[in-house]
């Protein structure tokens, strides 16, 4: 087991390094000149040239990447003489538009995204899996058709549509909730919940629909396996057959899907954050793309990638815990 964990961690690390190189290269290959974007329309060529040097954009590409990596571990100071500014480690760059270090920007918006993702995850995974199992057990009966039909409807609507629909009816028309205005939970828990509940429901509806279908299909497949028949032939009660033998095998792929979906959301739920004006990672990423703020784009992509890689490792390790064939081979 231990060699497997070490191997998996090393691969994860390698992927992160490759991801950082790739993102770095990609954005340097873009036609936009990062130096020209540092000071808006009224920029003189001299300022641009000066900024180019201050940001280290005049160096060869490999050296720029090297500075970037060094900055990540040691912190980075831009410019020279009196006009310097320092981003402490782990530095992901400096945004001239915002006048802030990218890391600090991301750290300030990350909690919003984490609250959004984790809350929605809890709201979708529990009903999704339970309803999936339920409809597998009620196969070909009206209960299954109702659940699966509803899930299909939920799955067919795009999230911005569900979000706007909820916003329109619940906030504007019926005025059951105040207009979303994000406040951290520590300063006003009630307003926090009032703001988050609709985004949570929006994401949960979308994902729950997917997880109902996934769980149902997995359970149906597992319940058709020979070892389920063996469990019945042993005389085990049906609740043990399904709840122990069926679930253990049927839920394994769901662990994978859930881990990756959660990680994807932690990288920013762009649409839902925009609809509900939540100041999270997704909105930061969207803004930076619209403003061609390259350092922030690089930073947000790296953070999103980081979550995916870490989730992959965790999922693989969980898999090894669940399935002895992975652990021992």
């Amino acid at each position: 087991m231990t060699p497997y964990v070490i191997r998996r961690l090393l691969t994860g690390l390698l992927i992160l390094v490759l991801l950082s190189m790739f993102t770095f290269l990609l954005f340097n290959a873009l036609p936009a000149d990062p130096a020209a974007l540092t000071c808006g329309k009224s920029c003189s060529p001299q300022t641009i040239a000066a900024n180019r040097v201050r940001l280290g954009l005049d160096l060869p590409l490999w050296q720029q990447y090297w500075e970037f990596v060094k900055g990540f571990f040691l912190g980075r100071t831009y410019g020279s003489g009196t006009a310097t500014f320092t981003c402490p480690a782990p530095a992901l760059g400096y945004s001239f538009r915002k006048g802030e270090c990218v890391t600090q920007l991301i750290v300030s918006v990350l909690p919003v995204t984490i609250y959004l993702a984790v809350g929605a995850f809890i709201l979708w995974i529990i009903p999704g899996v339970l309803l999936g199992i339920y409809s597998a057990l009620r196969r070909d009966r009206w209960q299954e058709r109702v659940v699966m039909g509803t899930a299909l409807i939920g799955y067919s609507f795009p999230s911005f549509f569900i979000g706007l629909l909820l916003l329109f009816f619940i906030v504007i028309k019926w005025q059951l909730l105040p207009y979303p205005d994000y406040t951290p939970p520590q300063s006003d828990p009630v307003q926090f919940l009032q703001t988050m509940i609709l985004p949570w429901i929006t994401l949960a509806l979308l994902f729950a629909a997917f997880y109902i279908r996934l769980t149902r299909n997995q359970m149906l497949e597992t319940l058709g396996e020979d070892y389920i028949r063996t469990a019945r032939a042993k005389g085990l009660p049906e609740k043990v057959v399904i709840g122990k033998h069926g679930l253990r095998a049927g839920l394994t792929p769901i662990v994978t899907a859930a881990g990756l979906d959660l990680a994807g959301l932690l990288g920013g739920a762009i649409i839902v954050e925009s609809v509900f004006t939540l100041p999270g990672l997704g909105r930061l990423a969207l803004q930076s793309v619209l403003e061609a703020d390259l350092p922030i784009i690089t930073g947000t992509v790296l953070v999103a990638g980081f979550f995916i890689v870490v989730a992959n490792i965790i999922v693989d390790l969980l898999y090894a815990v669940i399935d002895p064939r992975v652990r021992l081979s």
């Binding site: 020979d226 070892y227 042993k234 005389g235 043990v240 253990r248 002895p324 021992l328």
Partner: protein, 347 residues
């Protein structure tokens, strides 16, 4: 009805579908005593597996209509409730399956899977159950059972897994063991070992065995009685000698002729022409008539219009066929001789 330990009387299993009712098992009657082995023989789709699953209560009651009677000892199976059947499964009657690779749960240690079978029917602590599991693993010939008990199924070979399945089936000393093609998925060398093991354990536990197979070689080795099934019904039933030395039904003759034999002179096998009928639209007469080489010997169109009854021809032997006794025997002798390619019989 005999007073045998396991008795099945007029068992019927039908699956209503959109295209019509599939009569998978159509009035099957047989019996097996403790310590005896009944082999149910037939090709795929003949209803032999459905018969066994119906006895175990493993056919889905929502999709199937099961009728008739079946007793194991004093327990009537067909009218029993789900819970009564569950209590009998694994204790009074148990089953082993064709594919030992798929029949064990890949995520649980074999010791846990066997222990579960012990503890669901007996009030034993985990430690006591484990002792019994290790003892049982030793009985089925697993080397180092104290260590192997903690293995996962994928760490065992196919033969070892089937031994584990046998251990699981016999661990509560059932009166009836149904073995559904227990050796089909195994290597030929392992097949013989498994059948030997079953025979040995049968003596120890005095178990009645219903062996479901299409392998007549296996039947010849272990069966006391043979029931031949075709299209959901029994077409011939008799002792091992009856079936192998004086087969009466042209279908049984066909099965015997299609077995590859080392002493055969002809190089080609003699298959039975055609396909089994659809179980939805069975022919009105004899179900085997469309493939039967002897049907022309029967006068008129009786084979096409009249269902033959199961005729008792000796106390141990019965057959479902319109042919006269003499015709049946002549047909069997000639067909088997032709399959063997005995010189002088070829004209």
């Amino acid at each position: 009805m005999t007073d045998a330990y396991v008795r099945v009387d007029d068992l019927r299993v039908a699956f209503p579908t959109e295209d019509g009712t599939v009569r998978a098992v159509d009035g099957v009657t047989f019996s097996v005593d403790r310590g005896q082995t009944l082999a149910i023989v037939g090709e795929s789709g003949s209803g032999k597996s459905v018969t066994s699953q119906a006895l175990m209560g493993l056919v889905n009651a929502r999709n199937a209509q099961v009728s008739g009677h079946a007793w194991v000892g004093d327990n009537e199976l067909i009218s029993a409730s789900d819970d009564q059947l569950r209590k009998l499964r694994g204790s009074v009657m148990s089953m082993i399956f064709q594919d030992p690779f798929a029949s064990l749960h890949p995520f649980y240690r074999i010791g846990d899977q066997l222990g579960e079978a012990v503890r669901v029917h007996n009030k034993l602590s985990k430690d006591e159950a484990r002792k019994r599991v290790i003892d049982m693993l030793e009985r089925v010939g697993i080397p180092n059972p104290e260590r192997r008990v903690d293995d996962y199924p994928h760490q065992l070979s196919g033969g070892m897994r089937q031994r584990v399945m046998i251990a699981m089936a016999l661990i509560n000393g059932p009166a009836l063991l149904i073995a559904d093609e227990p050796t089909t998925a195994l290597d030929v060398t392992v097949q013989a070992q498994i059948m030997e093991l079953l025979a040995e354990l049968q003596k120890q536990y005095n178990t009645a065995i219903i062996l479901i197979t299409h392998d007549l070689g296996v039947v010849a080795d272990v069966a006391d009685e043979v029931a031949v099934m075709y299209a959901g019904r029994l077409v011939e039933r008799g002792s091992l000698e009856d079936i192998f030395y004086s087969p009466q039904m042209p279908y049984t003759v066909g099965l015997l002729s299609s077995v590859p034999r080392l002493d055969a002179v002809t190089e080609r096998l003699t298959p039975i022409a055609g396909q089994p009928p659809s179980l939805i639209n069975l022919p009105p007469g004899c179900v085997f008539e469309p493939r039967c080489n002897a049907a022309h010997l029967v006068g008129g169109d009786r084979c096409q219009t009249e269902r033959p009854e199961l005729l008792t021809i000796t106390p141990t032997h019965s057959v479902r066929c319109h042919l006269e006794m003499a015709q049946r025997e002549q047909f069997a002798t000639e067909s088997l001789a032709a399959a063997l390619g005995v010189p002088g019989d070829e004209s």
